[in-house]
C-alpha cells in the first residue's frame, strides 16, 4: 500500500517537474522572440530615417541642426554595440531627436499639409509605436517568465535547470523616460 502511495506521489511530482520545465522553456522562447522583435522594429526605424531626412531637407534649410541631430543619433544607434544599456540609451536619444524634429515640423504649415509629409509622419509615428509595443511585449514576457521561475516551488527548479532571471528593457535616464509626444 505504502509503496503504491509513494509511487503515485513520485509520478505526480515528476509530471509537475516536466510540466514546469516545459513551461519555462516556452516562456524563454517567447521572451527571446520578443527580444528579436524589438531588434526588427529598431532596424525598421534606422532604415526609415534617411528617407525622412531626404524628404524634408529642401524645406528645412533653417533647421539644419535638427536634421543633423536626427542623422547623428541614428548613426550612433546603428553603431551601438550589443550591450543592452548602451543600445537603450542610443535608441532613446534617437527617439528624442525624432520627437524634436516632429515638433519643429509643426511650425511649417506648408510642410505639415503636404501629403508626402503626412504619410512620412504617420510612418514615423507608427514606427515609434511599434518599438514601444515590442518593448512592452518583451517586458510582459519577462514579467511572466520571472514570475513563473521565481515563485515557489518552481524557484527550486529554475536554478538547477538553468533558467536565470531575465532583465527588463528599461530606460535609465529619467529625462529620457518622458515618451516623445507623437501626434498624427
Amino acid at each position: 500500500m505504502e509503496i503504491w502511495l509513494a509511487a503515485g506521489v513520485a509520478v505526480l511530482l515528476s509530471i509537475y517537474v516536466v510540466a514546469s520545465f516545459n513551461r519555462l522553456v516556452i516562456l524563454r522562447y517567447r521572451m527571446r522572440d520578443a527580444w528579436s522583435q524589438i531588434d526588427v522594429q529598431l532596424k525598421r526605424r534606422h532604415d526609415l530615417i534617411p528617407n525622412l531626412v531626404n524628404a524634408v531637407k529642401g524645406y528645412m534649410e533653417h533647421e539644419r541642426s535638427v536634421l543633423e541631430n536626427v542623422t547623428r543619433a541614428r548613426e550612433q544607434a546603428v553603431a551601438a554595440g550589443p550591450d543592452i544599456n548602451a543600445r537603450a540609451a542610443a535608441e532613446s536619444a534617437l527617439s528624442a531627436a525624432t520627437g524634436k524634429f516632429l515638433a519643429v515640423v509643426e511650425a511649417y504649415p506648408a510642410l505639415r499639409a503636404s501629403e508626402n509629409m503626412l504619410a512620412l509622419q504617420e510612418e514615423l509615428a507608427s514606427t515609434e509605436n511599434r518599438i514601444a509595443f515590442a518593448r512592452q511585449f518583451y517586458n510582459d514576457s519577462v514579467l511572466e517568465y520571472n514570475a513563473t521561475r521565481g515563485t515557489f516551488p518552481r524557484n527550486l527548479l529554475a536554478a538547477p535547470f538553468g533558467f536565470p532571471a531575465a532583465e527588463m528593457f528599461a530606460l535609465d535616464d529619467p529625462g529620457q523616460r518622458a515618451a516623445p509626444q507623437v501626434r498624427v
Binding site: 509605436n129 512592452q136 515618451a179 501626434r183
Partner: protein, 547 residues
Amino acid sequence: MTSSEETPNFAEPISAPPLGPVDRSSFFEQQERNRAATWRLSVVCVLAVFCTGMVLSLILAPPLYGLAILRLSLARRYGSVSPQLWRSFQAAGNTFVAVLQHFSNHPAPLPPLDIVLYTAIGILLPGMILQLLLWLGIRAMFLRAGAGGVLLTLGAREPRLEDLKEKKLVDVVEEMAIAGGLPSPKVKLLDSAAGNAAIVGSSRQDATLVISRRLVEELDRDELQAVVGHLIASAGNGDLRIAMTMVSVYQAFGLLDTLINAPFGPHARRALWRLLRMPFRMGDPADADEVSDWLTQGLRNSDKDDVTARMGRNKGCLSTLLLPVVIFNASLKLTMVVLSGLLFEPAAALLWRTRRYLADATAVQLTRNPDALANALQSLRECGGLIPGGKWASHLFIVGQEARGMPPEMARRVKEMRKSGVQPTRENMMNMALEAMAQENTSAMAGTRAARNDETLEGATGGGMVSLHPPLEKRLKRLQAQGAHYAAGGRRRKSLLAWVFLLVFLTPLVALSLAAVLAAVAVCILLNFFFVTMAFAVILAIVRLIP
C-alpha cells in the same frame, strides 16, 4: 503610444459623479477572473449539451432499436444470427417492458437495479454515440473553414494604402499584433454606414480583421488602437475556436434534423449535398456559412421542414403511414429547440460575454490605455450598428445589438458633450432621444426602425434570451475599474418592494412555464415512443407473416 489629448479633462466637474468608490482592479486581475469564469461556464455548457443529448437519444432510441430488431429478425429469417446476440436483445427488451409495467397502473416487481441500469445505458448509448459522431464530424468539417467567412462576401475590400486613414488602420493593426506577440491578421474594409468591427477566421494564425469604413472615420488613433486591440486580443485568446465549437453544436443538431428529413424532401437533400461538397471548396469560407445556414434552416422555421410538407401534400393512406415519422421528427425538433434554448443557449451566451470582458481586459493590457477603449465603446454607442447580412457572424463583432446607433443629430450632441468632458447622464440621453424623435418625421423614423429590424439578423446563436454581447454600460464600468475615466451614469437601484414584487409574482410564473415546457417535451417523447414502436411492430408483424 501616443497619449490622446481628446481624453476629457477631469479637473472639471462631471455631471454624474460615480456612486460610491470605484473598485479598482488591474487588467491582470480582470483577465484572471474572466478566465476562471470561462472554465466554469464551459463546464455548464458541456452539461447543458449532455442533458439535451440524453433526452434526444431517448427519442432516437425507438427507431434505432426498431431498425436493429428489424435487421436482426430479417437476418434470422434468411440467414444466421449468433444466438447469444439474439438472447441479449430479448433480455433487454424484457427488462424494458418490466420497468414500464412497474410504473404503469398495475405494479409489477422491479427487476434488479443493476439490470435496470444496464438497460437504461443500453437505451441511451446508441443515440449518444450517433450524436457524438455527428458532432465530431461536423466540427472537423467546419473547423477548417473558420468562423464568419460570410463577412468577406459582403463587399469586403483590401485597404487602400494611398488613403491616409486606411494606411493608419493597417499600421495600427500591425502595432497591436506586435503588442500581442501575434502574427498580424489580414485587414478588410466594409463600406458600411454602421460602425463596427469583427475578427473572423479559423485560428490566430489565420485571422482576418473586418472593419467598417465608418469606424475608421469616426475614431481617433487611440480609439482605433483600442478597438483593434480588442479584436486581436480576442483572436489571441482563442475565441475563434470557441465560437466555432459553440456554433458546431447547432450545426450537429441541424445535421441530425436534416438527415431525418432527407428521405422526404428536396430541401434537406440539397443541404446534405452542399455539406458533402464543402470539403472540396476550401478556398471559399463563405460556403461554410451558407451550408450551416442550410443545415439549421429546418430548426428555425417549420415551413422549411420536408416531412411535414410531404405529409401535407399526400392526403389519405400515405400520410397515415408517414404519421410516426412526422411525430418522431416533430418531437425531436421540439426537444432540440426547447432544451437547447433553455439550457445551452443561455450558458453559451454567458460564456461568450465572459470572453468579451476578457478581450476588453486584454486590449487594455495591449494598449495600456483603458481610456481609449472606453472612449471607443462610447463612440460605438453613437455610431455603431449591426452590419446587414452578417448573420452568422454577429457574435464576432466588438459590439452587437446593444449598439444600435443613435439618430444622427443625437449622436452628434452626445459626442460633443463627451468631447467637452461632460458625461451625458441617462436622463440627458432620454431627453435627447425624445427630442430627436419629435424633430424627425415620425413616419421616417418608423421606416428606419423597420429597416433596422430587418437588418438585425442575429445568427442562430443570437436570437436567444440572453444577448451575446454584454451591455455597454457594464463593459464601461469594468473599464472604469481598470482605470478609465468614465463616470458611470447614475443608475437607480430597484427598491426592495420591486424586488419582492418580482420574486413573488414572477418566480411562480417562470416555474410554471418551465414546467409546462418540460411537460410538453415529455408528452412529445411518449407520443413519439408510442407511434414509432407501433410502426415498427406493424412492420415486424408483416415480416413475420411473409413465409
